[in-house]
Structures are given as structure tokens and as C-alpha cells.
């Protein structure tokens, strides 16, 4: 009979989070039931900014918003406020791809102001800020004008928090 702990897949309790050492070269722990954990070295992005993550939580006031990320124009993750499901190197890849998207549109003489990818259940809304890019994952039913307004306000706070010169 297989044993599992679902919380280990998606969430880390506050006590675990506090106990976990912050390292620039973390291990990803992979375990099978009743087997000893395997540890794998992984690359982690630049240290995240807790102030940025605090600002991003404001976006969840909009009904339907799942979470958000802030990245530099160069593709470095500044911070994220997504469910733990996404707390993985996938976010670093996402940050880089957002930057690639911006660069591709710029090279095609169509510099992005806002953009949105729509999928079956959710949409990824992207805003170009002076200090980088803001990505918001939201349900399709989300009221877009309300989200645009919240994104603008959060963008202003992010620019005040991060500073325009530190991220280019």
C-alpha cells in the first residue's frame, strides 16, 4: 500500500519554512515511499525580494487572481506570489521566457505594453513596467478592467520598492 503526504507535494507549513535553511544552492529532495530521499543539486535564481512578494499579494484582492510574479527585463525573478505548486525552478524558466517574449516583440518593432496568454482555465496577464515585467495568473472569469487597475497600482509600488536603476 502506497503512503503519501500530499502537503509535501504542494505546500510547506510555516514551521517547515522557518526551519528550512535559506541557501543559494538548495537541494531538491525526491523521495519514493519508504525510500531514502535523493538529493539533487539545482540552480536557484537570484535571492527573492520579500518586499516585492508582499506587494504582489495585493493583486489577490482581485477576485479570480491565483498569483503573480515580478521579473526584470533581463529575465531574473524578483519575487513571486503563486501557490507553492509553482515554487520550483519552473518559475525561473518562466521569468526567462517572459523576458524572451518582451525581446521578441521589441525586435519585431511591436514593444509590449500589456499582453495576455489565454488557456483553457486561466490566463497569464503581462504588464510592462519601468522596472521589469509583471505576470498575473488569473481565472478567465476575472474582471479584466479591475485587474488592469490593480496591476497598475502594484506596478507603481513595485517600481518604488525595487527602484528603476537596480534591475536593468
Amino acid at each position: 500500500m502506497a503512503k503519501w503526504k500530499l502537503k509535501d507535494l504542494f505546500w510547506v507549513s510555516s514551521t517547515e519554512a522557518e526551519a528550512a535553511p535559506v541557501s543559494t544552492s538548495p537541494k531538491i529532495e525526491v523521495t519514493a515511499s519508504s525510500e531514502a530521499p535523493l538529493e539533487v543539486d539545482v540552480e536557484l535564481s537570484a535571492p527573492r525580494n520579500p518586499q516585492v512578494e508582499k506587494v504582489l499579494t495585493m493583486l489577490r484582492d482581485v477576485d479570480g487572481v491565483v498569483g503573480s510574479v515580478a521579473v526584470t527585463n533581463a529575465g531574473e525573478l524578483l519575487g513571486s506570489d503563486l501557490p507553492r505548486l509553482f515554487e520550483a525552478p519552473g518559475l525561473d524558466a518562466l521569468a526567462l521566457r517572459l523576458s524572451q517574449l518582451r525581446a521578441a516583440l521589441l525586435s519585431a518593432d511591436a514593444p509590449m505594453k500589456t499582453a495576455a496568454f489565454r488557456y483553457d482555465g486561466h490566463a497569464l496577464h503581462i504588464s510592462q513596467l519601468d522596472c521589469g515585467l509583471l505576470g498575473v495568473l488569473a481565472e478567465l472569469r476575472t474582471h479584466e478592467p479591475a485587474l488592469d487597475m490593480a496591476a497598475r497600482l502594484v506596478g507603481q509600488r513595485l517600481e518604488a520598492t525595487v527602484g528603476r536603476t537596480s534591475v536593468f
Binding site: 500500500m1 502506497a2 500530499l6 496568454f117 488557456y119 483553457d120
Partner: protein
């Protein structure tokens, strides 16, 4: 799945959850109930295959919603990354279950039936024709999933190259975010919009326009 005296059943067809039962809950509510359990055991179920699916959403959507519900229910949910996750290996063979859950074991009856088709599988035959009538569209192209231009209007060569790249990024970013079923992309720049949307299985349309709202009716449901 059994957890602390509770029992739930998840039915999968072609990688998608199509039915779920947990106590008196059926469908997505049952999925969220089961995903809320933090420990337990699992094995194959002998429950009869449902006549009709009770779950239609993609598993990515269900998982996201469950994670969101969990987050919202947790006061003081930590946001500091620890870059730690655990993958649990699938059991090598149908497991033998003891006592109360013994009826869960045996092979799962699985009648052959067609899985529900995503909305993007519906062919929007009129989309390309409609674009021909829109004066707001500067240039447009219809491409297949390999990037071949099937039809074009105006000078769409550069637009096509950009579209293939954006289409690829859409899939990759979708994977990063647990999203499937790409429908469309819109980008606002200084003076125009770039709109890209799937019009049929295996093909998509890209257009540069000044009035994106005219195109939205072609692909947004």
C-alpha cells in the same frame, strides 16, 4: 484513496480526471475534498465506471483551484521560497489493500469511450474568412503547428515568424504554470495589437490590428 477513515475515488481517462466521489460529494467538490487530505493510502478502485463524467475541467485547473483554496484557507501562509518539493513514486503494481478499503482493489472496469474534447478542438471555419472583411487588420496569416503559412493577407512574413515563436512560448509558459489548452494571445503595443488564436486543431491565426475587440468574438467564448 483512504485517509483517516474517509474514502474517495478518482476516475482517470486518458490522463484526465473524469469522475470523483468522496462520501456524499461528487465531481469537482469531491476532487477538492480528496486533495485536501494530507495523508493516506491509495490503491485501484473497483467502483463502477460512471455513465457520465462528473468532472470536465482539466487536471491542471483542478490542481490550481485546490492549491488556491488551500492557500486562502491558511492564514499567514508563508511566501518565502524554500525550493523544496517531494515527488512520490507510483507504486510498481496494483497494491493490496487491507480491511475497510479492500473493496477498492481489483482491476478497474474501463469501457471504451471517447474523452470529452477541449473547446479548442472545435473548428472555427469562419475565422479566417471574417478577418478578410475587417479593415482594422493590417496583415494576418494562418499557420499550422509546424509553422507553415497556410494563408496570408498583407505583408505577413515577419508577423509569421513572430507568431511561431510566441506560439512556442505559449506552450512552454503554459507548462511552467500547469496550463494546457492554449487559446489565444493578445499584445498591446504603442499603436496596434498583435492577436494570435487557435482557430482549429493544428492551426492558428495571427493578425496585426487596431481593433482587437473585433477579433475577440472569433475565439473567446
Amino acid at each position: 484513496m483512504c485517509s483517516e477513515g474517509r474514502e474517495g475515488h478518482l476516475f482517470f481517462d486518458d490522463g484526465q480526471i473524469v469522475h470523483a466521489v468522496a462520501g456524499e460529494r461528487v465531481g469537482e467538490e469531491a476532487v477538492f475534498e480528496i486533495l485536501g487530505w494530507t495523508t493516506g493510502t491509495f490503491g485501484q478502485s473497483a467502483e463502477a465506471w460512471p455513465d457520465e463524467p462528473s468532472v470536465t475541467g482539466a487536471w491542471q485547473h483542478l490542481l490550481l483551484t485546490a492549491a488556491q483554496k488551500r492557500d486562502e484557507a491558511q492564514a499567514g501562509f508563508p511566501t518565502v521560497s524554500t525550493a523544496r518539493f517531494v515527488a512520490v513514486k507510483k507504486p510498481p503494481a496494483p497494491a493490496l489493500v487491507t480491511s475497510k478499503a479492500s473493496e477498492l482493489v481489483t482491476s478497474l472496469p474501463r469501457p471504451s469511450r471517447k474523452a470529452p474534447q477541449p473547446e479548442t478542438d472545435q473548428v472555427n471555419e469562419g475565422a479566417w474568412a471574417a478577418i478578410g472583411w475587417l479593415s482594422s487588420v493590417h496583415c494576418a496569416a494562418r499557420l499550422d503547428d509546424s509553422g507553415n503559412v497556410l494563408e496570408s493577407r498583407g505583408d505577413a512574413q515577419e508577423l509569421s515568424g513572430l507568431a511561431v515563436y510566441v506560439r512556442r512560448l505559449a506552450d512552454l509558459m503554459g507548462e511552467n504554470l500547469g496550463q494546457a489548452g492554449f487559446r489565444g494571445f493578445e499584445c498591446r503595443s504603442e499603436s496596434s495589437w498583435l492577436v494570435l488564436f487557435v482557430d482549429a486543431p493544428g492551426s492558428y491565426i495571427v493578425a496585426s490590428t487596431t481593433a482587437p475587440q473585433e477579433l475577440r468574438s472569433l475565439y473567446r467564448s
